[in-house]
């Protein structure tokens, strides 16, 4: 059994695994950054999972979507930080990104919808709908297909912190 640590808030403590920081400007200059970063980090953190290759593929798939959402965000200047930590079967991705106020409202709304009970239905409607998937739908899909839970936390300055828990080890084969 792994020892369980608790942080001050009383939740289980996640062990930090890896962190990448990038200038937002640099990040959004090349689309392929999403793919590079998600693939690289997935590979790094999956080696001690029960099936490293499968875990890495799933993690990269989910993480890439998050990065693509961050890519499409209207940003204030500053740094993008991606952090991955782990508690048991759950991997936690924290994205800290500077953004303008209306973007903050977008994230607040999107996160509350993901938690809503009709998340699945909304997602299915969007698949058969005309529009290319919005950023909100992309976040919904993480909940529907990867059993992710999402929430927002306070961050300093103009930044928001999006916290996504991915229980990939438990996802059925």
């Amino acid at each position: 059994m792994e020892p369980v640590h608790h942080d001050l808030a009383g939740g289980p403590a996640f062990e930090p695994m890896i962190q990448i920081d990038m200038e937002i400007k640099a990040f959004v200059s090349v689309w392929r950054h999403c793919d590079y970063v998600s693939t690289y980090m997935a590979r790094m953190i999956s080696q001690n999972r029960s099936d490293s290759v499968r875990h890495s593929n799933l993690f990269s798939s989910a993480f890439n979507e998050l990065l693509e959402v961050a890519f499409r965000t209207r940003h204030a200047d500053g740094e993008l930080a991606c952090r991955v930590s782990r508690h048991g079967a759950t991997d936690r991705i924290e994205l800290i990104l500077p953004c303008v106020p209306e973007e903050r409202r977008f994230y607040e709304e999107a996160v509350s919808q993901v938690a809503g009970i009709e998340a699945r239905e909304r997602y299915l409607n969007s698949v058969s709908g005309d529009l290319a998937p919005s950023r909100e739908v992309v976040l919904l899909e993480l909940a529907v297909d990867y059993n992710a839970t999402l929430r927002l936390e306070e961050a300093d300055g103009d930044a928001i912190k999006l916290v996504v828990d991915l229980p990939l080890e438990g996802l059925r084969h």
Partner: protein, 392 residues
């Protein structure tokens, strides 16, 4: 932009004979126009087919939501415009997200079904994958290891390397390698969940770290190219009807300058004294029996050709004879008894062999066991080892 960005990372194809559209690789476009030709190909395919269009995504490793939506929409629209048309999406059990994500489509349109491709990988799979064979695989590996541990360093094995054991079975070989040679990383892949579960259990019980067991299909692996210093594949090419497909993958994941290492048998050369004739007759029949099920238990000496044709160089081939004098003769006898059980049992019955044939067939195995346990007897099982280097 690096030149790498310009390489296409996915491929779409339409096979008119099979009415099959397939898309493979990593599909993560920024804008949908990047998919233009593939989308056009899918539309065109839909326009041509009658009845069923198969959409093969078995080799699709990544696809972002933007691309997924673009392809899904075309399929959903086609269902609505042409109720006569059915779509069958074929996913792979190996790529974790595809069945879930594509599976949603069948909830949207009843004419879309999603099938996970997971069975019948090679013709004789059922015979060899049954749980009963596990103890025998262990004994076999124990017997071959006595020889291979001395042979491996001549084929690129050394401490600190990154290696993969493809078709690892229950993982014993990986564990032995780990202990003896301490590679820095071992990825061990198989397509049998029960074997992998067994391997993981053993690793946990004996607190063995550093072996990554992974579920996969050797003919289309999720592993990236040019990763491993040594890629091993033992006793397995001989069970596939098209070993060159597996070799192509072994080659792909091997680093330039690294080596691909294979072991195989030539069962008709199993031998024993006394009762040599009966033994020889039976093993000749084993070879024919395997051939009947499209497997080549005679592959060993063909290794040089296979490796050369796969594009490897500096090919090294050697052979060794496992005998009743390696360790306990009873181990040898147990292995033969297990062979008899499967070959003269399930396999011969499935082929429709007569009772008279089966009686004689069994006798040769019994005589081999007799030779193995005889105080003055000799019983042998030859193995061919071969490796080649991937050009720099």
């Amino acid at each position: 932009m690096s030149p790498y960005d310009l390489l296409p990372r996915f491929k779409a194809q339409y096979d008119a004979n099979n009415q099959e559209f397939s898309i493979s690789g990593v599909v993560r476009p920024q804008a949908i126009d990047e998919l233009g030709p593939s989308i056009a190909l899918l539309r065109d395919a839909i326009g041509r087919v009658r009845g069923v269009l198969y959409v093969n995504v078995r080799r699709l490793t990544q696809m972002n939501n933007a691309a997924f939506h673009a392809f899904s929409r075309i399929i959903i629209d086609a269902c609505r415009a042409r109720p006569d048309l059915k779509f069958v999406v074929i996913t792979s059990s190996v790529v974790g997200w595809t069945s879930r994500k594509f599976g949603r489509l069948s909830g949207i349109e009843p004419n879309i079904t999603v099938e996970e491709y997971d069975s019948e990988f090679y013709p004789g799979q059922g015979f060899l994958e049954g749980g009963g064979f596990v103890p025998i695989l262990r004994t076999q590996t124990k017997m071959t290891w006595r020889h291979e541990r001395a042979i491996l360093p001549r084929h690129g094995m050394r401490p600190g390397i990154v290696m993969a054991d493809i078709c690892c079975g229950i993982g014993d070989f990986a564990v032995l390698v780990q202990k003896e040679f301490q590679p820095s990383r071992i990825v061990a892949l198989d397509h049998s969940r029960s074997s992998l579960a067994y391997a993981r259990k053993v690793a946990a019980e004996f607190d063995i770290k550093g072996i990554e067991y992974t579920y996969g299909d050797a003919s289309e692996m999720l592993l990236e190219e040019n990763q491993f210093d040594l890629v091993t594949c033992r006793h397995s090419l001989q069970v596939f009807n098209r070993p060159e497909l597996i070799l192509r993958e072994l080659f792909r994941i091997c680093k330039p300058g690294g080596r691909v290492y294979i072991t195989n048998e030539k069962n008709s050369h199993c031998l024993g004294e006394p009762r040599a004739d009966s033994i020889q007759w039976t093993y000749n029949e084993v070879a024919k029996l395997w051939a009947h099920f499209q497997m080549d238990i005679e592959l060993g000496p063909k290794s040089r050709r296979y490796l050369t044709e796969a594009g490897l160089e500096d090919i090294r081939v050697e052979s060794f004879m496992v005998s009743n004098h390696d360790g306990d003769p009873q181990d040898f006898a147990d292995v033969i008894a297990a062979w008899e059980n499967v070959y003269a049992g399930e396999m011969a019955t499935k082929r429709g062999d007569t009772p008279a044939f089966i009686r004689r067939f069994r006798q040769g195995f019994q005589d081999h066991i007799f030779a193995a346990l005889h105080s003055k007897g000799y019983a042998g099982w030859p193995i061919w080892v071969a490796s080649g280097r991937k050009p720099l």
